[in-house]
Amino acid sequence: MSVHALANHVVNRFSGRLGFLGLTLIYVLLVAACLGTLAREDELSLGRNPLANLVKTVGEFAHPSFLDVWFGNPQLEYKSDDGTVLRVENRQEVEADYLAGLGRATWTTIRIATLGSLLGALLALPLAVLTARNLAAPKPLAWLAKGVLDIARSIHTLVFGLVLVGIVGLGPTAGILAIGLHSMGTYGKLFAEAIESLDMAAIDAVRSVGATPDQVFFNAVWPAVLPQFVSSHLYVWEFNIRDSTILGLIGAGGLGLLITEATSLFQWGRLSTVLIVIVLMVSAFDAMSRRIRQALS
């Protein structure tokens, strides 16, 4: 029996019904091992009184700072111990300043996500062409490209960010590069899949009239691949808008910075405001990109 036949034999073993049962069993064992070991290490507790904490947190989050300020008392009086008023602060003005800062931070986050996604897509394109199996690029190049993509995909944006802040300093540039490098891995995989799922019948149709390779590319490959590329681009872009909010945590700027601030000062109302902005932004982008993707399909 040749090596090839042997390999086929092994694969067949695992694709049968018994093989599936075996894989399920392995999965169940893994889950059991995870739960069991955590329980033995006594790491499965929920803290001392989770219920009370939950109620308290929900209560604080239910008062987003901007609502609180607009519908509550607008004047905040700073008094000395004997009751004389030292200073009166207009909370509405302070909050308006905060909201303006929030707007700027949102814009920074969007800029980081947008440029980072574009960078990732551009970097991924040649690598995807090299890894797509049906294009049959030279083996060593294909392996190299696949390796680069796998590494990029398995390193978290935050890790890239931490390293890059050390190299290019604090600021959006580090964020853009971090997003670009990590999403390059995701893009590469999606692009390669788009290329691999090409409609070969369409290619044959164009080839059968004696078209040259460039004509085949522009008339059969490109029309089939472009919508898929655009669709994956929107998808990853949307993901990155969400992902880039976290980058502020490491000093890349944007909404994450405000999140760090609010949490470290225990201003849950402000955190709640920031989260509302994030949810609105992400769902607006999601609705938009879904429209576009539908129109493209």
Partner: protein, 275 residues
Amino acid sequence: MSEIAIHLQQVCCIAEGRALLDVGDLSIGHGERIAIVGHNGAGKSTLLRLLTGFMPAAHGRVDVLGRDLNGSPAPRELRALRREVGQIHQGLHLVGRLSALENVLIGSLGRVTGWRSWVRHFPVDEVVGAEAALHAVGLLARATTRADKLSGGERQKVAIARLLVQRPKLILADEPTAALDPAAAGEVCHLLAQAARNATLISVVHNPSLLPLLADRVIGLKNGRIAFDLPIATVDDQKLTNLYRPDEAAPAAPWPMTASNPSKLGRRQIFSNQV
């Protein structure tokens, strides 16, 4: 009729250790109209693909339109040949994401080259020609509809319009009426015959009643070999029935299967024998 369009000598196509096609000697003159008949898997499509270099011959001589397809012909040579060969395939070869009109214009890629063909900015006369072709097959109203939104029969007609635009010397039609209703089938056969007025036409047909529309000469294939090669007038029902009947050497699996009657055939083969 004097000129030879196709000449095969001792050609054998082999895939996965099996001979798909084994043709001793076959020559087809220019302007002839040939129908190929035979059971499923007889090698009809393989024969057509051999003629355009999509299927290589393991050995033998293949000459198509004065071009030698032996060994591994240069891509440039193959492209030049394919520009002169109009093909309608079983798989309804269209580019799904392009409009009907753009698909028809694919037929002009042999004449339109360079950047124009990349952005599909075709010269006006080609567009006019393509619209005329769509009109001829009765689909001008659907010109801007994407090909994957068309019905099977409509796609077949778009493929024929593409053929009209391509103006080939040799037309290979693999079951051109497979997805069509009887009226449309007759119509498409007429269109094909029209397109083939100045060309050689080879079509694969399963429906005997369409044979006279498309052919003067009928070639029967059985298990990759030529079983008969006769003028249409001498082909009768008896000959066709014989052709489609399974070989005595490999009798059909008895049905239903019983314990005393075990079969080594796979499920798929059993079902195809039933039909």
